[in-house]
Every structure is written in structure tokens, then in C-alpha cells.
């Protein structure tokens, strides 16, 4: 089946649109979560959405997406607040607070799920699909709700952009400016629940953690500013969402959620390797060049110091002596210095003992050595 054919399929259109919405909202909100070191809060909130899904179902009496998502939003946000309460008001650390809330809320969800199954309600079918998501069952009406939630989240981020940015970077300074920092932080945290709600249908509660974290981490590698990072995270989220959804449609039978997660995680891997400035490859390259330059400077300044010590600008230095001094073979480095016109391999006058040719600094070499020494001196000052 070609991509064009795929895209004209009604079900697949819905899945792709849903995955794109999820990528968009989780990329944007995840960026803040990751930067505020609340990466795993998304994991806790998504697991904690399960009892909400069940409560929404019980209260509405049917599989009404609106009340289910509302329930998920409520318990997800509640879990975040319980987690804050546990860690602020007791000696429990953040990790324990996250783990406790995650597992106990999820357990409540499991209990409610079995309770609903016991009610023998015909319409309960597929409720536990929220565990892994059920992308293929996405309806046009679900999309409208997911789109609405995404729009609300994006509008809030746009309206409070500079406040969110400052609170994420330097909450203390934000307080000194008179911003309501506590409220902004609660808002940022609870908004992650919005992303979770959008993700329930697509990837399910278990894999949401990666949807929050991965686009943000990938985008971080390429960007210097929060503006770039958030836009890029949204883009990465959307693209890998669509890619995963299409892959799932092509494969017929492979779950959509895991494929989306694997797509976005691959982007993380590629970004961490290749991104300029922060990528591993670039770092290795930079380190190699720095080592190279340092070696050049060291040999050059040694020649200069020896000349200065002997008060002889054309002091002739033996190759062997440089090797011993630096503890390594300097010949290759000296050859490169020679090519740069900084040093010369000159004949020793016949009346002097020792090897027949020695190294001498050129005038350009002296200037360069002085420049290096001066800049070193500045750094040490």
C-alpha cells in the first residue's frame, strides 16, 4: 500500500492526526518538565490517570470519551499534588514520592477496572486498552477533544511564555520580580496532565513517560534557546508520532504506541550522536583538535623559552632534546610547525658538535609564541 493510499484511509487519517497532536503537546510541555527536572512526573501522572479513566466511565455509565478524559485529568493532577505533599511534608525523597504515587494510584485503577468488569456492563469493552492505547479505535470526535486540549495547552504556554521560561530557569529571581511563582509551577506541573490525557488514546498510560521526555531531550541537543528547543521538540514529537502511526498501519498488527516510542527514541539517539556542539561525534572531534593545538603550542613555546633562556633568538635546539623534554616524539609536530612557517630545520655550523641539523624559530614563530604565552598569562591572571 502506498503512503497516499494509506493517508486516504479514514482510520489511518485519525490515527495519524492523533499521533501528531500527541507529539505536538507532549513535545512542548515535556520541554518544560525535562528542564525543571520533573521528567518522571509524567510517568507518575500517566499511570495515575488509570483510576480516573475508570471513574469517568463509572460516573458517565458509558464509554464516553469526554468524561473518561476528564477523570484522567483529575486523578493525574491529583497524583502530582499528592506527590508534592508526600515529599514536602515528610522525609520521603522525590523518587520515593513518585514511585509511591505511581504504583498506588495505578493499583487503585486496577481495582476499579476489575470492579467495572464485575458490573457486566456491555459497553465497558476495551477500557483496559488505555493501558497500551488503542490508536486504531480513534474516532473523529476523539480528535476534536484531543485537538481542543492541545489548543488550550498551547495557548497557555504562549500567553505565559516569559513567565514559564523564567520560572523554569531561575524561580528565585522570578519571585524577586513579584511573579506568583508557586502558582506558575503548579500550572506547569498540572499541564503535563493535559499531555497525558491526549496520550491515553494513542500510546496508553505505560509509555507516556517517553513521550514527555524523548522529544525534549532530542531537541535539547540541537538548540541554544528555549524557543528553539520547544519548537523543535514539538516538530520531533509530531514527525515521530506520524512516522510511528504510519509504520503501525503498514505493518498491520504491530501496536501503534510502542512504534511511536521507538521512533522518537531513535531521534534521541541520533541527536545525541550527531548534534553540533552537544553530539558525541562533535565532542570527540573537538577534543582531538584541541589536543593537537595544545601539542603545537607546547613545542613552540618550548623553543621560544630555550631561545629566551640563552638570549639568542636563533638558538638551535636539538630534536632529541625536545623529544626528551616533552616525553614523546615531536618530529611530526615540528614538521607541521615548519609547514606553517614558524620553525626551520637548519644546518648546525660545522664547528659545533652534536647532530648536523637543529630546530630554529622563524621571526613569525617568535611572534606566534609570544602571542600564545601572553594569552596563557591572561587566562591565569
Amino acid at each position: 500500500m502506498s503512503v497516499v493510499e494509506l493517508l486516504s484511509d479514514y482510520t489511518i487519517q485519525n490515527v495519524v492526526a492523533g499521533a501528531a497532536l500527541l507529539g505536538l503537546v507532549s513535545g512542548v510541555l515535556g520541554s518544560f518538565a525535562v528542564l525543571r527536572q520533573q521528567s518522571l512526573l509524567g510517568d507518575t501522572m500517566s499511570h495515575a490517570a488509570l483510576p480516573g479513566v475508570c471513574l469517568g466511565f463509572i460516573i458517565a455509565g458509558t464509554r464516553d470519551i469526554g468524561s473518561i478524559l476528564l477523570g484522567a485529568l483529575a486523578t493525574g493532577a491529583l497524583a502530582a499534588l499528592v506527590m508534592l505533599l508526600l515529599t514536602r511534608m515528610s522525609r520521603l525523597k522525590t523518587d520515593a514520592g513518585l514511585g509511591i504515587t505511581l504504583s498506588v494510584f495505578f493499583a487503585m485503577g486496577v481495582v476499579l477496572l476489575t470492579h467495572i468488569q464485575g458490573m457486566n456492563n456491555a459497553s465497558q469493552g476495551g477500557l483496559d486498552a488505555f493501558l497500551f492505547g488503542q490508536a486504531a479505535a480513534t474516532l473523529r470526535s476523539d480528535l476534536w477533544i484531543m485537538g481542543g486540549i492541545t489548543a488550550v495547552a498551547l495557548a497557555l504556554v504562549a500567553a505565559l511564555w516569559k513567565e514559564f521560561k523564567l520560572v523554569s530557569f531561575d524561580p528565585e529571581f522570578a519571585t524577586s520580580l513579584g511573579m506568583p511563582v508557586a502558582w506558575l509551577e503548579v500550572l506547569l506541573t498540572v499541564m503535563v496532565a493535559l499531555a497525558v490525557v491526549v496520550g491515553l488514546q494513542m500510546v496508553g498510560v505505560v509509555l507516556m513517560a517517553a513521550m514527555i521526555i524523548a522529544p525534549a531531550v532530542a531537541a535539547r541537543q540541537w538548540s541554544r534557546r528555549l524557543e528553539d528547543m520547544v519548537l523543535l521538540a514539538a516538530l520531533i514529537g509530531v514527525v515521530s508520532g506520524i512516522f510511528g502511526a504510519l509504520l503501525s498501519a503498514l505493518s498491520r498488527g504491530l501496536a501503534t504506541g510502542p512504534l511511536i516510542i521507538l521512533s522518537v527514541s531513535s531521534v534521541v539517539l541520533v541527536s545525541m550522536t550527531l548534534a553540533p556542539e552537544r553530539g558525541f561525534l562533535w565532542e570527540a572531534f573537538r577534543r582531538m583538535r584541541a589536543r593537537h593545538r595544545l601539542r603545537h603550542q607546547q613545542v613552540l613555546t618550548t623553543l621560544y623559552r630555550l631561545a629566551a633562556h640563552h638570549a639568542d633568538p636563533i638558538y638551535r635546539t636539538e630534536q632529541g632534546m625536545l623529544d626528551t623534554y616533552h616525553g614523546l616524539r615531536t618530529r611530526a609536530v615540528l614538521r607541521q610547525l615548519e609547514r606553517r612557517g614558524l620553525a626551520e630545520w637548519r644546518d648546525t655550523p660545522p664547528d659545533e658538535p652534536g647532530p648536523p641539523r637543529r630546530w630554529v624559530l622563524t621571526p613569525a614563530g617568535i611572534t606566534e609564541a609570544e602571542r600564545v604565552l601572553e594569552s596563557l598569562g591572561r587566562e591565569n591572571a
Binding site: 528542564l35 511573579m179 534557546r225 528553539d228
Partner: protein, 266 residues
């Protein structure tokens, strides 16, 4: 709060301030006044409550008792007249933002809700970066700046606040000599313009040369006033207790080292 001015002649007036962290008091009944147009240092041993005093004045840490006025009015009414430089270590420098961005943040309070920084704000921020000698690094990601450069960016962020009273929390900690000189020069210039500068400082050796007003603190006020009157061995001993012997030795050693270096250089 009342609208009548309370001690309007003082840049900062702290009265009977008591602050506690987790119900353990860290500052006891602090009375502290700073006249306008001085450069004041707050010194004291570790755990003396120096940073807490600043934070409490700025409303970052709640007080158990006491009150604070800036130029005669409570802080909340004077926010626009205050500039603040937190400790450099208080933020994550791996945050994706540029030097220019950080400085622009100093203008967020003035901008108010829903308004974005525009060209004017960027120009102001650029001018502040120029003042601290960091104009060339405006577009640089902050994680790539050295400690001293980061500190200058923080200072520039306070400068754009165009304040009357500046609070700086250990701005000279862990910075290189060039940056320290640059910071002191800028602070002096501010003082000469009639602004008030209040600095939490850790280096006893430079107190006399940098500052003209001094508060010696150790949970309570040990002494305060013009540096020349307050910086005495007796007061320091009261604040630092046994540690002062070490400090004396330190001063002595470093003077000797300096002399030696001078001889070598000569």
C-alpha cells in the same frame, strides 16, 4: 501596609527582623540600616545568615517578626527600584538560553503579563552586556561561559533593572581576578551615581578596599556602620570566634606571597 513613609532617608531599613528555617531561627532581631549612595558589605562566618538576610529583605524567605523598608516603603511597593543578583550556583547553567536572553529576563517584571520583550528590551539588554564587557558573548549559550562570565551576565541582568538599590549574593565567589575587578568597577560606578549597593561578601581581605559601609553578622548583628569604624579585630573576633586566628594567618601568608611575587617580577 501604610502609605506613610517610614525612615525615608535610608536606602534600606531593617527593623527587628527574625527569620527561621524549618522553625529553627537563623537570624535574630536584626536592626540594619544602609544610607543611600554607599557600597555596603555583609560579612560573617558560614551559616551566619548573610544570604538569608538578603532573601528575607526581598521577600524570598518569610520573616517571623520584624519589617523592612526600602527608601521609606515596604519592598512590595518598591519592587521596581530593586535589582537582585542571586548566587551563581542557584540556577542550572545547562538551561538552553543565551547570555542576551538571561539579561532580558531582568526586564520581565517591568513588562508585565502577556507582553513580550521586543527590540527596545533587547537593546537595553545589549547595552547592559556592553557595560559588563560581555557584548561579544551575547549570543553565546550560557553553559559555554566561564564562571566569571556567568557572574557578569547575572550582574548585567540586575543592571537592566535600572534600580536604586542593588542586592548581590556573593558575586565575587569563584570568579577570576579580571571579573572581580570589573564587577567592583561597575558597582563603584553605580554608587557614584547615587545608587545603593549591598553585597554579601566572603573575602575579608578586600572588605576595606572595596566597600565603604559594613555589616558584620553572625545570626545577630555584631556591628554596622562605616567600614573604617566597624572593621576592627575585636568585631571580627566576635563574629568569627576561633576562626579568626586562621584568617589572620591567611592574610599574613598571602601578603608574604604577594611580596615574594613582586620581588620575582621585579
Amino acid at each position: 501596609m501604610s502609605t506613610t513613609l517610614h525612615e525615608p532617608d535610608l536606602a534600606l531599613h531593617v527593623e527587628d527582623l527574625t527569620v527561621s528555617y524549618h522553625s529553627k531561627p537563623v537570624l535574630w532581631d536584626i536592626d540594619f540600616d544602609v544610607p543611600p549612595g554607599v557600597m555596603a558589605a555583609i560579612i560573617g562566618p558560614n551559616g551566619a545568615g548573610k544570604s538569608t538576610l538578603i532573601k528575607s529583605v526581598l521577600g524570598l524567605v518569610p520573616a517571623v517578626a520584624g519589617h523592612v523598608t526600602l527608601h521609606g516603603r515596604p519592598y512590595k511597593a518598591q519592587r521596581r527600584r530593586v535589582g537582585y543578583v542571586p548566587q551563581r550556583s542557584s540556577v542550572d547553567w545547562d538551561f538552553p538560553t543565551t547570555a542576551l536572553d538571561v539579561v532580558t529576563m531582568g526586564l520581565y517584571g517591568r513588562l508585565g503579563w502577556l507582553r513580550r520583550p521586543g527590540r527596545r528590551e533587547r537593546d537595553e539588554a545589549m547595552a547592559a552586556l556592553e557595560l559588563v564587557g560581555m557584548a561579544d558573548f551575547a549570543r553565546r549559550q550560557i553553559s559555554q561561559l566561564s564562571g566569571g562570565q556567568q557572574q557578569r551576565v547575572f550582574l548585567a541582568r540586575a543592571l537592566v533593572q535600572k534600580a536604586d538599590v542593588y542586592f548581590l549574593d556573593e558575586p565575587m565567589a569563584g570568579v577570576d581576578a579580571t571579573t572581580e575587578r570589573a564587577i567592583v568597577d561597575i558597582l563603584r560606578r553605580l554608587r557614584d551615581e547615587g545608587k545603593t549597593v549591598i553585597v554579601v561578601h566572603h573575602d575579608l581581605q578586600t572588605v576595606r578596599s572595596y566597600f565603604d559601609w559594613l555589616l558584620i553578622l553572625n545570626v545577630r548583628v555584631i556591628a554596622q556602620g562605616p567600614v573604617a569604624e566597624v572593621y576592627t579585630a575585636d568585631h571580627l573576633r566576635q563574629a568569627y570566634g576561633g576562626q579568626i586566628a586562621l584568617l589572620d594567618q591567611d592574610t599574613f601568608l598571602s601578603e608574604e606571597a604577594a611580596a615574594e611575587a613582586a620581588v620575582r617580577a621585579g
